[in-house]
Amino acid sequence: MSLVFDENGRPFVILRDQDKKQRVKGLEAHKANIIAARTVANLLKTSLGPKGMDKMLVSPDGDVVVSNDGATIMEQMEVEHQTAKLLVELSKSQDNEIGDGTTGVVVLAGALLEQAQALLDKGIHPLKIADGFEKACEMAVDRVENIATELDIEAHEHEELIKCAMTALGSKVVSKQKRKLAEIAVNAVLSVADMERRDVNLDLIKLVGKTGGSLEDTSFIDGIVIDKEFSHPQMEKEVKDAKICILTCPFEPPKLKTKHNLEIKNKDDYEKLYEIEQKYFTDMVKSVKDSGANLVLCQWGFDDEANHLLMHNKLPSVRWVGGVEIELIAIATGGRIIPRFQEITPEKLGNAGHVKEVNFGTTNEKMIVIEECSNSKAVTILTRGGNKMIVAEALRCLHDAICVVRNMIKNHKIVPGGGASELSASIYIQEEADKIETIEQYSVRGFAEALEEIPLALATNSGYDAMQYVSDLKEQQVKSGNPYYGVDAMNTGNNQMIEEGIYESVMSKKQQLQLSTQVVKMILKIDDVIAPSEYA
């Protein structure tokens, strides 16, 4: 980096250790940032759509992740470049907010940046570009809202929801089982959804993965699965009409919080202490038994003696149950979490129709399944698959599908998928652009072109002659005035997206447009990057 000189020709220090830092300014900074961000976006482009490809990521420790999910790919990539990191954040926030469309949002941002670069070359000021994009984004959102239709989610036993979930799953490795997984996802969401408030608490859906079997063996359990086993091998493996005592205190004599010393001075003391200790255990078990409980779940451990006493009293018990699981179980069974033995009362017990221990494979791995819970709010999806990576990916896919279904319940409005909404918004903006008087016209048009990138990428990934295909689509849309023509990625011969049941929630689409425009604006505003030099 060149030094700055004052009027007498002496070097002038602006930043501390400035020769050790590297700095890019002005147009150069813009371009460098754009290129970096586009590199990342290009990486995701091929993952878009049902025929998109997966990425294999090797973590610093050598673990392998295979994924099609934009957010996961971005996160695992360990991007180092500053602006590229912004895109990683972008897909993450789409993931947090909506849960799906994480690839699309990055691809759109990349396309916008590409347009921005061309506009910069024309000599338009970055802020003008940003403003134009902003304006165009508003138009696009309007258009998307206009073409959105209300969906009757209750019709045909929630058939529409299943279709939506299937669209989300279509692009993943699990696509073969998409019908089944979609049904599972819809089932899960509906069992926990609060239809009046139109809200879904996703914490109530537990996703558990277990390697083995095949994807077809994935199952929906109306209850909870915990990766634990009964504490004593001879306890009953199955409890019907379980009354569950949920404890967060250990089966141990209490530990005083105050510092104390207990001194044994003579023989009597010693014997007394022993008696008291024995009494603690029997009392504890008795208080549980007296409450009418026939199953004990404890967040802590208990020692052999307590364990045996429980077994002896026919109280199957599970130790070291995790905090989150304890809460879930409490919600599902309508039980209360009991922190002290003195507070055990029959009303505080949870109810479940059926609790059993299940074995897997040849390695003696066990899980406990709690079914028919009285409150039945919490559900579990147990995912199986041929290897570790596929189970991990299937879990991510299910999470996406569940999010999609949740969004549909929150907001019944839908827009066509397959790039049809983007295309329709693009056409609309193109028309409107000519009516703008300032040079923002150019950037608004740029935005419209960037929107076309989504159907283009979809068409490319599906093996069509992309340019030709998308221009045909555009023509069809304009001629018929029907915004539902999209990319027929599955090669079914019909590109009427709504008829094919390919749609996304309007919320997700709006979020995608807004988030990517925001990030692009942010990147465009940067005109100076100061970073510690690698060569220092």
């Binding site: 091929t46 420790d61 044994i264 023989k267 255990f281 045996h308």
Partner: protein, 534 residues
């Protein structure tokens, strides 16, 4: 800004960390293919009855002397260190196959490898991976339907036992135990049938004792515990009552927090010591109130209580390990006790005879005549490596047998099922439109590759024999299969070569899932390796 330049002179900034790499499209795909196929080729030569073994040696300087000789795919793959991500997926499916069904670990890796080898050719023909996958999915469904169709199950116990024996023989034939396979097949089937349908191999204890020959291995109808009876106790008891406990018999710790002993005179120390002893004595008395003839504890037993019990003529066994106590309790039908206040409620175990016996030079305790499910297999052999491999082979056989007991379906071995499936797959390829048909044909070729490799490993003219087999099966001889002894096609029914349906099904599922997963990848991003301190 640091970074390379592209053709037009634009600076390309470094997006990833310095040591990270990013491979796209052809390069990425080539890496996956090469890696996965290389791994499959490693285990390929172990496939089939005439497959060869591998020696595995640790990379650790200090452990160079520890070597493993094995024929088991999962064991081999687990031990090799690979850097290639696609290869890792293959290793992972083999591991899953091992955990899920216990056998067929080599088959999955080889089959996935063969699928990818075919996929490589197809991609070179410019067929899109997604099209290949679509074809494979159709093919896999057809293959599974065929597999289901050609499988059968015997309901009556006599012929089912024969099926099991055949499966055990077939599984063992590719292992070190080949010579004694009849002996071991009987042994494994007897052991598994004792389980009566329980899917828990814990009940079968395998004890390895170097010395003797493989033929000297035997199934102990009872249970063998590798422990010694404490001195001064009777060494043989008939119809004893057995108490199994998990309790400290050294001294009872005081569990109330923060207590400690502080006294002011020696006399009081002595008193407390006396009290401690008294407490132990009381405990022993409580235990004796159960009237056991044998007392087995998971934990240590100090001399004092041991002597007290021996005085009463009770046989004392200490330090039975965790597994041991659990198994014992299920064999003998006893509860594991930790408190001893209610002798009337506690159930004690029983068996006909407990005695100390010698295997080779070691003393063990044998519990016989205990109608429970458990049993022990004592493996004898000339050395540790032989025994280890024998244990793995036997474990495989046991796993397969338990799977068969649960799902009673059986198919013919010797490449019969593969070829039948390949024929069914070929059949749908004829009627499928589009490029997918090519992928379906490729799937059939990959299926046929399995018997071909088996033949190659045995040194026969694989192309000739496999084609003969194919024509035999296609012309309706559904029991035809490869005879690996004479190198010809023969009748699998009379040869008694059976395989477990569940194993084949799982192998087909996992291998095609993994191959699909690898094929779907078009980009590999490798993060910079984590820097290790020092």
């Amino acid at each position: 800004m640091a970074g390379s330049m592209d053709a037009v002179g634009n600076i390309l900034p470094n997006v990833l960390k310095a040591e990270a790499s990013d491979d796209k499209d052809e390069f990425a795909r080539m890496q996956s293919f090469v890696g996965a196929i290389a791994v499959a080729d490693i285990v390929k030569t172990t496939l089939g009855p005439k497959g060869m073994d591998k020696i595995l040696q640790s990379t650790d300087e200090n452990k160079r002397h520890i070597i493993t000789v094995t024929n088991d795919g999962a064991t081999i793959l687990k031990s090799i260190m690979v850097d290639n991500p696609a290869a890792r997926i293959l290793i992972d499916i083999s591991k899953t196959q091992d955990e899920e069904v216990g056998d067929g670990t080599t088959t999955v890796a080889v089959f996935a490898g063969e699928l990818l080898r075919e996929a490589e050719k197809l991609t070179q023909m410019r067929i899109h991976p997604q099209t290949i996958i679509a074809g494979w999915r159709l093919a896999k469904d057809a293959a599974l339907t065929k597999l289901k169709e050609i499988s059968w199950s015997h309901e009556d116990d006599e012929s089912f036992r024969e099926d099991l024996l055949n499966i055990a023989r077939t599984t063992l034939s590719s292992k070190l135990l080949t010579d004694d396979r009849e002996h071991f097949a009987q042994l494994a089937v007897d052991a598994v049938l004792r389980l009566k349908g329980v899917n828990n191999l814990d009940y079968i204890k395998i004890i390895k004792k170097a010395g003797g020959t493989m033929k000297d291995s035997f199934l102990a109808e009872g249970f063998i515990l590798e422990k010694t009876i404490s001195t001064g106790c009777p060494k043989r008891l008939e119809n004893p009552k057995i108490l199994i406990a998990n309790t400290p018999m050294d001294h009872d710790k005081i569990k109330i927090f923060g207590s400690k002993v502080r006294t002011d005179s020696m006399q009081k120390v002595a008193e407390i010591e006396e009290a401690e002893k008294g407490k132990m004595k009381k405990k022993v008395e409580k235990i004796l109130a159960h009237k056991p003839d044998i007392f087995i504890n998971r934990q240590l037993i100090y001399n004092y209580p041991e002597q007290l019990m021996a005085d009463e003529g009770v046989m004392v066994i200490e330090h039975a390990d965790f597994d041991g106590t659990e198994r014992l309790s299920s064999v003998l039908g006893a509860d594991i006790l930790s408190t001893f206040d209610n002798p009337e409620d506690a159930s004690l175990g029983q068996c006909e005879l407990v005695e100390e016996m010698m295997i080779g030079e070691d003393k063990v305790i044998k519990f016989s005549g205990c109608g429970g499910k458990a049993c022990s297999v004592v493996l004898r052999g000339s050395g540790a490596h032989v025994l280890d491999e024998a244990e793995r082979s036997l474990h495989d056989a046991l796993c397969v047998l338990t799977q068969t007991v649960i799902n009673r379906n059986v198919v013919y071995g010797g490449g019969n099922s593969e070829i039948s499936m390949a024929l069914a797959v070929d059949e749908i390829a004829k009627t499928t439109k589009g490029k997918q048909a090519l992928a379906i044909e490729a799937f059939a070729r990959a299926l046929r590759a399995l018997p071909t490799i088996m033949c190659d490993n045995a040194g026969f003219d694989s192309a000739e024999i496999v084609q003969n087999l194919r024509s035999e099966i296609a012309s309706g001889n559904t029991t035809a299969g490869l005879n690996m002894v004479d190198g010809e096609v023969s009748n699998m029914k009379t040869e008694g070569i059976n395989e477990c349906y569940r194993v084949k099904e799982q192998a087909l599922h996992s291998a095609s899932e993994a191959a699909e997963m690898i094929l779907r990848v078009d980009e590999i991003v490798r993060c910079a390796p984590r820097k290790r301190e020092g």
